[in-house]
């Protein structure tokens, strides 16, 4: 029942978006080679479904691999930052630097180092996911209630087990916030990676279609990417909620 409800809302907002899209075209009279009509795009979407599916498969694998790696690495970094103060002083600036370097500036570099295969895209997605996770994780970890830490102390917890049983669960809401953000960033990471050099994937397809002025196809690829991104976000969101059954949101949830 609830799932059906959620589906309904997604469908509604999808329709709303299509309407908005159509409206923009009608109002601004933007030519179809800059913004094609939804109909044209949907047509291409159906017509070239196998092609799109192939490239989407590649990009989705990149995104998922990057997501897993990025979350793991981000978590590890957050832990390192929270536990080794000495490290923090030097690691934090580096972490920041890794973030403020525009990815596309080093994308060609990464691609040259890592080759034109999937690896470079996965690294790119990882890089882009890594920071939100590390940053919110760190912020969450260092705000654990003092009382719980005291309790862990008198209960004779090792730092490691204190981390697992106290600090991580306490940081979970903050971390979830970061992971949700990471989920939206991951697809862009992969696509930028493909843009810097690839021979398949949705980013590649979009670049190619764009160069050939097949704007319909480009937007169809974009649509697939957006749809997958939304799916990813909502799945992760559901997963995170399931991980926090005690965490009753004050406000009703999206679904």
């Amino acid at each position: 029942m609830k799932r059906l409800h959620a589906m309904r809302h997604l469908v509604i907002s999808a329709l709303l978006l299509l309407g908005l899209w159509q409206l923009i075209i009608a109002v601004t009279a933007v030519p179809p080679y800059i913004l094609p009509t939804p109909q044209a795009v949907l047509e291409v979407l159906i017509q070239k479904a196998p092609l799109l599916a192939h490239h989407a498969g590649v990009t989705i694998s990149e995104i998922l691999a990057g997501l897993v790696l990025g979350i793991l690495l981000g978590l590890a970094t957050a832990l390192a930052l929270a536990f080794i103060p000495r490290l923090r002083r030097t690691l934090l600036p580096m972490l920041l630097i890794s973030q403020v370097i525009p990815l596309f500036a080093i994308a060609p570099l990464l691609v040259l180092w890592l080759g034109y295969d999937m690896l470079s895209k996965v690294v790119m997605a990882t890089l882009i996911i890594y920071f939100p996770v590390a940053s919110t994780g760190y912020d969450g970890l260092r705000q654990t209630q003092q009382g719980w830490l005291d309790l862990a102390h008198t209960l004779g917890a090792s730092p490691w087990r204190r981390l697992i049983h106290i600090q991580l669960p306490a940081a979970l809401p903050a971390l979830a916030s970061g992971i949700r953000m990471a989920a939206t960033a991951a697809p862009i990471g992969a696509v930028i990676g493909e843009w810097a050099g690839a021979s398949q994937g949705l980013g590649y397809l979009m670049l190619n279609a764009n160069a050939r002025m097949e704007i319909d196809l480009m937007f169809a690829a974009l649509l697939v990417l957006v749809a997958f991104s939304l799916l990813l976000y909502f799945s992760l969101d559901a997963l995170l909620r399931a991980l926090m059954p005690w965490h009753r949101d004050r406000l009703t949830r999206l679904s």
Partner: protein
């Protein structure tokens, strides 16, 4: 299982202000000590200091155990706030210590204790769904579950009703037999029923020394002293008067 403690030179300063200094006390092995004093005089802070918890600012303590071993890992601490972990169900909060030390859980004991504090059937509830007194009882059960030789409890019965409180006195007396117990309480009757000695933290006569510790003997009877023990009412009246006096002396 019994472990006596001697503390000397206890001192705590907060932000340049001395809470107390040069405080000494003896907690006999297997005895109960009630710690009393005005709100804000430093009882919780003293408990934290003894439990080896992190303190801000300046602090100092010479703590000797009777067996010469460090106290670490042998003290159970029940804080003034219940400190239940919201992501653990009631029963999971009980064996938090096992999980933190990687010891096997004692399911039987956990269930028994929850039943004893009147929470049978609520084992799988989230702490957020409990009333204030229920939460405090879970925290008490968690402290008892630890079976530590030294137990420090900060106002452990403050949030429960009078009847439950009496029941918990019985329960604690039974389960903490032979342990060295230091308990903060605001209830003179409770102190007299349970404690072998009473320590009153009261304003020191020396300027700049903050509070000092006054030792009063307990009733010396069985624990808990029965409510109808004739010695209880006069002792209670005397203690209240004493608490009021120590206030006025400052």
């Amino acid at each position: 299982m019994s472990l006596g403690l001697t503390l000397n030179n206890a001192r705590i300063d907060y932000a340049g202000h001395t809470l107390f200094r040069d405080i000494s006390a003896r907690l006999e092995a297997g005895s109960w000590t009630a710690l009393l004093g005005r709100s804000g005089c430093g009882k919780s802070s003293l408990l934290r200091l003894l439990a080896g918890l992190e303190m801000s600012d300046l602090h100092q303590l010479d703590l000797a155990t009777d067996d010469g071993q460090p106290l670490t890992d042998r003290v159970a601490w029940m804080a003034q706030q219940d400190l239940l972990l919201p992501w653990r169900r009631v029963i999971d909060n009980l064996w938090l210590g096992d999980d933190l030390r990687r010891r096997p859980r004692n399911r039987k004991l956990a269930h028994e204790l929850l039943a004893a504090v009147g929470l049978e059937g609520r084992e799988q509830a989230w702490p957020d769904a409990l009333s204030g007194g229920q939460r405090q009882r879970v925290a008490l059960a968690r402290t008892l579950y630890q079976q530590a030789p030294v137990v420090m409890m900060d106002e452990p019965f403050s949030a429960v009703d009078a009847i439950t409180r009496l029941e918990l006195h019985d329960l604690a007396s039974r389960l903490l037999k032979g342990r060295t117990v230091l308990m903060v309480t605001h209830d003179p009757l409770e102190a007299l029923r349970l404690a072998d000695q009473l320590l009153v933290l009261r304003p020191s006569s020396l300027p700049g020394h903050g509070a000092e510790l006054e030792r009063l003997p307990g009733l010396g009877a069985a624990r808990p002293v029965p409510l109808d023990d004739p010695a209880l009412p006069p002792a209670q009246a005397q203690l209240i008067a004493r608490l009021r006096d120590s206030e006025e002396a400052a």
